[in-house]
């Protein structure tokens, strides 16, 4: 089976939509890759795949090889720089037109999820991150069932649960945590995304979607709180247009001064050369995800030993 050479499988879950599952998956993958691990991303959001867009590889197509599909490479391993390889698989790569609706009922989705889990030739990778759609329905049940049946013991490391701080979001995410309890999926921890927004003009932090809800929820459910990730429009610009993030001097994010430039030109939508993984190092969220990735890795290693 194609998962045989995958060392660890990590699910990225949330009961709520639009909280940043895909962007957390993306950044976790980039951070793990920067730490030297080889990473794969499997996007099982069939009706709204976002991973191809986030990596700027929307026009890529999947190659069929004897025995399965070859995932789309994002970047190759660079041992001198200590960067691991990164590749992705998503339904987005299989669609003829990017605007095409995928109107599938449950059984068809189940079959696709199963096929994604069995027929993708990942090769030897350290981490496979599985990005999921919102909810606790067909895709999730199929995912849990297939992994339960096919994965090797200890291979499924657990789930990173993403939420935003406001009560309306945590209400749905609590359902997802209960789903993990019922299906026996270990929760590695909770990430609170969109926690505060730092004004690029005056560096004032506003809690647009309130603050602290994710941490309180993690405490209630006795799971680890992995960290708070603020909204950074520069990250959105990085993935949308490929522009390298630059911050005005004095910008503090989670207590860290990330400002480098006197004047910041936010007008241009130009694309900087270089790989996403290189440019991401300049993003204010990179150190935050470095810590989150480290905690995830430590958690996985400690349960294994």
């Amino acid at each position: 089976m194609s998962l045989d050479n995958v060392k660890n499988i990590v699910l990225v879950l949330s009961g709520k939509g639009g909280v940043g599952k895909s962007s957390v998956t993306t950044q976790l993958a980039l951070s793990l890759s920067l730490a030297g691990h080889s990473v794969g991303i499997l996007d099982i959001d069939l009706t709204g795949p976002s991973i191809p867009r986030l990596f700027g590889i929307e026009t890529a197509t999947v190659t069929q090889a004897p025995g399965g599909w070859i995932p789309v490479p994002v970047h190759a391993a660079n041992p001198t720089a200590g960067i691991g390889s990164l590749s992705c698989m998503s339904l987005g790569f299989l669609l003829r037109e990017r605007g095409d609706a995928v109107v599938w009922r449950g059984p068809k989705k189940t079959a696709m999820v199963r096929q994604f889990l069995t027929d993708v030739l990942w090769g030897e990778i350290d981490y496979l991150l599985i990005d999921t759609p919102p909810g606790t329905s067909d895709e999730h049940i199929s995912l849990a069932e297939t992994l339960l049946k096919n994965a090797l013991p200890g291979q499924v490391a657990g789930a990173v649960v993403v939420t935003t701080p406001q009560a309306v979001a945590t209400a749905d995410v609590k359902k997802e945590l209960n789903f993990c309890v019922k299906t026996g999926i270990n929760v590695i921890g909770v990430v609170e995304n969109m926690s505060g927004f730092v004004c690029p003009n005056c560096s004032e932090c506003t809690n647009i979607f309130s603050k602290g809800g994710g941490e309180v929820m993690a405490m209630d459910f006795k799971v680890k709180f992995l960290g708070r990730v603020p909204i950074d429009p520069q990250f959105i610009m990085l993935v949308e247009t490929g522009r390298r993030p630059v911050y005005p001097i004095g910008t503090e994010i989670n207590g860290l001064d990330v400002g480098r430039s006197e004047v910041v030109d936010n007008s241009g939508d130009y694309k900087d050369p270089g790989q996403l993984v290189e440019k991401y190092k300049d993003c204010s969220l990179c150190p935050i995800f470095k810590d989150i990735a480290r905690d995830v890795v430590n958690d996985i290693e400690s349960t294994k030993s």
Binding site: R105, Q115, P134, G135, S137, T164, Q166, C202, T206
Partner: protein
């Protein structure tokens, strides 16, 4: 052998197969199952050897006998509007709540809200009725009344514990949506707003087939400005086209954020590809307006208050009222009837 992927081109097939009562299966559907409700059920090539074959083959064919009952039940409702978005967390439920409150400001109107998001219901919390339960009488299930003229139905009211996960596959979700339409005593209503989950799957197909007969005014599509969201929304509009649902228009939510300290406006979810306005033009649908990101909208939702009543003077409120009037206009209702100028 290389794996095969059936091209996802059978949308029309799925839409043309009207929903029928699902037979009780004895085993999970096989991979290439034509669908237990379809004409080919029990007869297709992939049915050979399936333990369900006999059950599916003998199941009654033809349209769902419950559809006339649904049509009858909903005959007292003048306007039905769907709130859709391919993307999650863009503000479908928030907008549904605001639209419902806006319609209900006119005391002569009766408004119903049906929450078809089975796995992540948000409407009860946003309306401040999270802890209510449904009452059952001889005439059917009673909706939970938020105001004298604003009733709500959601799965949240049926859960023993509010954080319970609803781990349901498609057919079960479809069954509940049918009950919401067939067994709820909606009565005489001016508007029924149907809030949906993200995506284009079971819930959307069911709502479409159940309501087709009784007639839907159209769908309001909600999005945020960035391309990652528009990408999914484009799929939803494609779905509406294929399903024959009229798109009343598109609303851009979370459009720009004004810093409360320095009043500098930031485009948090920057519209790098033209935002909803661009998409509306591209897909040739009406653009209903843009609502700025205001942290107080989220707060009002968390506390279950009406944002219109709590912050009537905010710019977001003015923008929302504009959008509500445009929705009315697209439905052919005069703006002053929907929301009188204040």
């Amino acid at each position: 052998m290389a794996p095969s992927l059936e091209a996802p081109d059978n949308v029309e097939d799925v839409l043309d197969n009207p929903l029928k009562t699902s037979p009780n299966l004895v085993a999970p559907e096989p991979e290439h199952c034509p669908g237990p409700e379809s004409e080919a059920a029990g007869k297709a090539d992939s049915c050979a050897g399936c333990p369900n074959q006999a059950i599916c083959a003998s199941a009654p064919k033809g349209p769902d006998p419950d559809i006339p009952l649904i049509t009858e039940r909903l005959s007292g409702i003048k306007h039905k509007v769907l709130i859709l978005s391919g993307k999650g967390g863009v503000g479908k439920s928030t907008f549904t709540t605001l639209l419902a409150h806006a319609f209900a400001t006119n005391e002569d109107n009766t408004v119903g809200v049906m929450d078809t998001d089975i796995c992540g219901p948000s409407i009860p919390k946003m309306m401040g009725v999270e802890t209510e339960t449904i009452h059952v009488s001889g005439a059917g299930w009673s909706p939970v009344w938020v105001l004298d003229n604003l009733g709500v139905m959601s799965i949240q009211f049926m859960l023993p514990n509010k954080d319970d996960a609803i781990i349901w596959r498609g057919p079960k979700k479809n069954g509940l949506i049918k009950q919401f339409l067939k067994d709820v005593e909606w009565g005489e209503m001016d508007y029924l707003l149907v809030d949906t989950p993200p995506g284009t799957s079971d819930e959307h197909l069911s709502v479409n087939s159940f309501l087709k007969e009784s007639g839907v005014d159209g769908a309001v599509v909600v999005t945020t400005p960035q391309e990652v969201a528009l990408l999914d929304v484009r799929k939803e509009i494609d779905f509406c086209r294929k399903a024959g649902i009229k798109v009343l228009g598109i609303v851009e939510n979370m459009s720009g954020f004004v810093c409360p300290k320095c009043t500098h406006e930031s485009q948090i979810f920057k519209a790098t590809t033209g935002g909803a306005r661009g998409l509306a033009k591209e897909m040739n649908i009406p653009f209903l307006g843009a609502v700025p990101l205001d942290p107080r909208i989220g707060l009002a939702a968390d506390y279950g208050e009406s944002f219109f009543d709590a912050y009537p003077d905010s710019p977001a409120c003015t923008a929302l009222k504009g959008v509500v009037r445009r929705v009315g206009e697209e439905m052919g209702i005069k703006a002053e009837v929907i929301l009188p100028e204040d």
